[in-house]
Amino acid sequence: MTDLKVGYYPGCSLQGSSRDFAESLHAVAKALSIELVEIPEWNCCGASSGHMLDHLLSVALPVNVLLKARKAGLPQVMAPCASCYNRLATASHEIATSPATKAQVESVLQTSIDKLPRVLNVIELLAQVSDRIAPKVTKKFEQTVACYYGCLLVRPAKVTGFDRTEDPVEMDKLVAAVGGKTIDWSFKTECCGASFSISRSSVVGRLGAKIMQDAVKRQAEAVVVACPMCHSNLDLRRGEINQQLEHKTDIPVLFITQVIGLALGLPKKQLGLGRHFVPVKFPAKPLAPPTVP
């Protein structure tokens, strides 16, 4: 099988609090013969704080990353963090559609900007190689899960051009490809609270509670995510969530790369499953009695 080479932008969270995402991503990439070429000397994309406080900076930082990727000869860049993905794609979009912004960013970076590399999210990358997955499945992932996409993978459509903005399906397809069953539920793209995790964790509790409640009601045994922020808010902040739920829940939250990794028979340690706050075990005991027939 030929190596699929793709530019890799880890982003700050994969180095720190979402180490498990990085571990499982690397393990799965290796198993599927994907070579992740890390962009040399990449800088932070600015995430939400960037665009909230300084628009010009928030475009310049991601463009700087993309220029580095271009210089390294990488036509495509995959950013596993949904927020990084969104910032890279948005910055690229603004350069392409706003001559005024482009001129300002060129002034900041003191270089001219030509065509920028294409930006992918982790699901797009895995979908590209989905035919490699099925033959390598050694242990089907036979659980019923809720695929949670969050906000920034699919919105705004003009920037991401990926999947449906309401009721997306691409992650569900990947889970199905490894033998899993996905539920049809109504909170696939409802916001988890994002960066309020630190400054307003009660909001994360409130929003996360709605998400978990719907998943549990429809008898999901786990929630599967593709974003480190979503994972953190539904896993690390489970305490705040359970405070706002009548019936507490301990169903685990897995990264899509961990789900695929399990199906490919990769060892749990390699997939970082031990690093979760909510233990990963199946079937989880739903403490809430199921209410949906």
Binding site: C44, H55, C151
Partner: protein
């Protein structure tokens, strides 16, 4: 009592500037409220998202002031749900970014949102220093400046033992290059305001 439409070329209104700098046309909004109806943070806000736009539409200083001083603009999560469903495709998230930046520039950010402002500033300060976010450093600055010393203290050990708490900043970025980007961004903005 306010009289509407007091904008002029000498003192452009926020709406006019937002159109020029952010390419957002608040006149497109016909106040249907769909953004408010779907906003996950609406109940944290003092002024509903659709009303923030209304406050800009009248182009009067008193209304603009209310928008800039609102808690709403800091409670916006940036989830992009509003613009995705807006029938007139008004880029409300961009308008919110603009208002946040303007509120800070005029030093009128709502006091009740100071922790949120501090968080964002701490984040960017960390990036400016090291080129990449140093989570512990960012949280440290946040706690120092907000005084929320004891929050999340309980999960810190767990995070550490699970390998999620890096004690030292990660190397790898070209620190000087990143610091330069921050400085150049400030300079270019200053030039454009002249």
């Amino acid at each position: 009592m306010s009289s509407h439409h007091e904008s002029s070329s000498a003192h452009p209104s926020l709406a006019a500037r937002l159109e020029k700098e952010g390419e957002v046309s608040v006149a497109d909004c016909y106040q249907c409220g769909k953004c408010t109806a779907g906003c996950p943070a609406a109940e944290e806000m003092d002024v509903a998202p659709s009303q923030v736009l209304r406050l800009l539409q009248t182009e009067t200083p008193t209304h603009e002031d209310r928008a800039l001083k609102s808690l709403s603009i800091w409670m916006c999560i940036g989830c992009e749900t509003c613009v995705t469903r807006c029938p007139q495709e008004v880029d409300l998230p961009r308008a919110m970014d603009f208002l946040r930046q303007e509120a800070l520039a005029r030093n009128v950010a709502n006091q009740d949102a100071s922790d949120v402002v501090v968080f964002h500033k701490a984040f960017l300060n960390s990036v400016e220093r090291a080129g990449r976010l140093f989570e512990l450093g960012m949280v440290g600055e946040y706690k120092l400046r907000t005084g929320h010393f004891f929050k999340d203290l309980g999960i810190a050990p767990t995070m550490f033992f699970k390998g999620k708490l890096g004690l030292f900043p990660h190397g790898g970025a070209n620190k000087r290059e990143v610091a330069n980007i921050f400085a150049r961004a400030r300079a270019v903005k200053k030039e454009s305001k002249v």
